[in-house]
């Protein structure tokens, strides 16, 4: 089996079937689709059971568990997938009908010259609450990568890798843009950080650092929806925002064990992609929690390896995030 697609659900309400229907509409059929219901209390699990019973499609499977968090639910599925590569899809997001085919083609194109890619990153589309569809936030980074890497894939150790890996780190960390080789995940032991939201940045950083070969798909392969119908889990202003600090800690600790930690540009890109989320959370969290947020953020940076504070003396113009991250890092670390 080529692909395993994973969706987790928890109280999805009216958007429950959006992703499922788009998976059923794929032009490429060699996949399994695992849905993990993470302790829904709104009847989502029962509705899924009924829909799957109606569809009688052997590629679809529902796993029910008590609420354990999004990361725990994804890890539950990862332990059970049987496809050669894994992809992720939020229940309310969708994949265009060509997505799996484009992904399978990219895997095949890369595999011709050797091993299958450990990781493929795909472009996507953002649909704003005003129903405006546009290229995803990271289109500029993909354009740069396309310039450095016209064949659509690259091995770590190639001369361009010195730029492409940091650029890929700056791509949006979300899971829908990733195709990950299952055996690679099992061998490295990489998973999602249990009990936390904002979990993607940890997974993104780890798989990218460990991937020997990375591919890129420039056809948009998913549509991410911002909706009023169902608020984003991460769109809260409550204490859940602190999760990004926990995940940053795990991400920094994990990356510090990787050899690329000693590449200043890659290191700065990891920090910048974490801090971008931290800044978003700081600017979104309840004002009553902001003081505590900065204290905890400062604690994370102070407990981190001091090398994180050492930025390249000269930062590439294509990555203006790095300069902003450097300033924010210094500002946060002195907080409290």
């Amino acid at each position: 089996m080529k692909l395993s697609c994973i969706t987790t659900t928890c109280n999805e309400g009216p958007t429950l079937f959006a992703g499922l229907e788009s998976v059923l509409g794929q032009s490429f059929g060699d996949f399994e689709y695992l849905i993990v219901d993470d302790g829904s209390t709104d009847g989502s699990a029962e509705r899924l059971e009924a829909r799957l019973a109606e569809l009688k499609d052997p590629r679809l499977r529902l796993i029910r568990q008590a609420n354990d968090g999004l990361s725990g639910a994804r890890n539950t599925a990862l332990a059970q997938v049987q496809g050669e590569h894994v992809v992720f899809l939020d229940a309310d997001d969708i994949r265009p009908h060509w997505a799996f085919a484009a992904i399978a083609e990219a895997i095949a194109a890369t595999t011709v010259t050797g091993a299958a890619p450990d990781l493929i990153l795909c472009r996507g589309v953002l649909v704003e609450a005003r129903d405006e569809a546009m290229p995803f936030y990271d289109a500029a980074a993909f354009r740069l990568i396309e310039g450095f890497c016209p064949e659509g894939w690259l091995d770590q150790g190639a001369p361009e890798a010195a730029f492409v890996w940091p650029l890929a780190q700056l791509i949006e960390p979300q899971s829908a843009n990733k195709v990950v080789r299952t055996a690679f995940l099992r061998a490295t032991g990489i998973g999602f950080p249990n009990t936390h939201f904002y979990e993607d940045i940890y997974f993104h950083t780890q798989v990218l650092a460990a991937a020997r070969r990375v591919g890129f798909v420039h056809d948009p392969c998913f549509a991410y929806f911002r909706r009023y119908l169902r608020p984003q889990i991460t769109g809260t202003s409550g204490a859940r925002r602190f999760d990004i600090l926990a995940v940053m800690r795990l991400t920094l600790e994990g990356f510090a064990l990787c050899p690329q930690f000693h590449d200043p540009l890659h290191r700065a890109a990891v920090l910048a992609s974490c801090l971008k989320l931290v800044r978003w959370c700081e600017e979104s969290v309840d004002h009553a929690l902001r003081r505590d947020f900065r204290i905890a953020a400062a604690a994370v940076l102070r407990m981190a390896d001091p090398l994180w504070g050492d930025f390249p003396a000269m930062l590439p113009v294509e990555m203006p995030e790095l300069g902003r991250a450097r300033d924010y890092f210094r500002d946060l670390k002195e907080a409290g």
């Binding site: 890890n75 150790g157 010195a162 032991g189 249990n194 926990a246 600790e253 003396a313 294509e318």
Partner: protein
Amino acid sequence: MSDVAEHAHSDPAAAAPPPPAPLSLRAFGQRLTLTAPGDPARRRDVLRRLHQDIEPFLCAHPPAGQGVALDIGADFGAFALPFARSCPGWTVWCLEPDPELFALLRGNIAASGLGNLQALPLAVGEAAAGVDLAPLEAALRAGDAAAVQALCPPGADSAAGVLPAAALAALAPRLVKLAAPGREAAILEALREAPLDLVLGGLAAPVPSRWVHRPGPGLRQAWLPLPEPTPEPPRGAPRLALRRGRDLSGRRPGLDIVVAMYNSAAFVEECVASLLDNDMPDLRVRVVDDGSTDDGAARLRAAFGPDARLILHHKRNGGCASARNHGRLMSDATHIAFVDADDRVDVAMFPQLLELARHTGAEVVQAGFAPLERDAEGGWSLGPDPEADMATGPEAAFGAQTVRVVPAAVAMTGQPTIWRRVYRRDFLDHRAIWFPEHIRAFDDQIFQLLTLHHAVRIPTLGGLFYHYRQHPGQDIRQGDERAFYSLEMFRLVLKRALAEGWRDCAPLIRSFVNTVNWSHAGLRPDLQSAFLIGAAELWVWMEKALPGWHFRETGEGAVAALDFPYHTRRFREALEGLPASTALAHLDTRRMHVAMMRMPPPAPVPTPVPLPLQAVPDGVRDGAVIILRAAAAEEPRYLDGDVPGQRVVLAPSTEPPFTGTRWTLRRGLDGGWLLLNQGVAEQCLAVGEGGVTLAPLTRPGEAALRWQLRSEGEALMLGLAGAAPGVAGWLCMRPDGMPGLCPEAEARLGAGLWRLE
């Protein structure tokens, strides 16, 4: 108790029991005066029961507009008269075998003028053998008290007549008030099909709760207190009363025992046999087969197939926590317990725990436990009660058992023993306490801490035990990475304790230290240091998050490992100067994630070509704002971006301030430089078909925008190398005074030399 009416009529000087006297009372919204026995203690007792037990219960569970009430042991009418007056749509049947009390009762009824009371001088007992109940039932249905009395001759052990309990159902009572010591169980059993909404009064001893805890008929709301222990019960002891509130949950009244089974075929039959060896119809055993590869399920089917109380569930392997949660999700019962498939219990343990739960209403009740160990003959035998020394506090009788109360603060610091307890399902759901499914060992620790904390006081049965089998290969003895699950769980509990506003975290801290000591001692040596560092980090977060008095019982010194203070000091130093904040409890570390601790070290990667950041000419740095002056020109000539035509020219500047272009140097990814025209955003120095020009910064990867800088003495050369055909060369001042590209030789002659200003 102080009561105005009671004082007015009592005579404290009398030595002999005083004669009956009027008693004014207020109940159910009525005020009335009854003639009551003169003994002051008895009068006080009647009023106390009325106001502390009966009236609050009826206030909370108001009777319907009409019905039949059965007052068994009506005494002088302290309940029946105010109730009959308060509920004129009801008929109240009063049974009182004591002749003197019956005389008072009859007098009180007559004096009240109420027409909805029937009084019979009868006790309730067993029917004599062979008696036909049909005429009696007909008389009861007809409301013919005289006929009923005539049909109930005195029994062998009773001077008064005896009404067989079995006949009571003929009245179809919706309310029964019990004051019939020793007869309660028989009466409730006889009324099992009566449409009882309300069951009140009192019990002399525990009765099987199943007659009350059933789906119907009637609402079956009950308050039947057991006699209060003498002397006074200890503070915080639960009131023992068979109770049941209005059932709004729709759950099946009963206990589901969830048995998580994974390859336990050798023991599971013994386990299930011990759970089913009782006559409780409302107890069920849900065995969840968590993807076993042995024949445990088949053996169970063979051994217990016909017993409908055993339910088998199958699922893919997901770990003990997921199996327990699965059983809970499948359960429809009001009470739940979690048993391990290789253990067993004293057969009376769970039936008695359910009775205790229903007589206390407690969120959590528990029994004792003892290790089941290999003995010398190769069998299994029960070891000593590990809590024998801890059994402090007074015990109360509970039927054949005893019950005492263990405070949560004490229970929380012990080892996790979640399997010897019965939990209220609504409590677990309300508090959102689940077994965390991603945690594959010690998952019961968080469950234990949260349930005990919120249950506050744990009624504990004496003399009945859960047999906890000790295997040499048991999880908790491996000493591997799973120990880190404990750190994660204490992090999660700390987060909840803060969010839920726990008043006192001292038991949590004590439990943490006990766990750290226990785990560290048994841990594989190569993991000990990481474990201690993780524990020290969590300790420092707790210090930052909680006021110091939470640590009054347990300081850092209670951790046995000698390195612990070193690690806590390091974290304190890192956080020095940061204010205290609960936010630190939201942090995390790899040392609290078993999956991360198990990850193999990252393999070395082929070293990518390093960034060409070396050999940068003096004065050149990223972000510098410069002016480029042609070094060889006699007159000052400056490189000027003439923006309107997107042209680049060499402009003379005759006087300060300089009006030409300032350029911003930006380093590109490949080590090349971009020269951004500072006057206009996103325009930079480029080479196109028309020579040197300005181009928008849309594709910064494009080679025609990237310049290499090379030192030439005190001057610089700007070159394009490896670019598209026709655009290689060095930035020069052409003879016509315009900038252009020229070959290296020409550039070296001076036309291509520039100075930064």
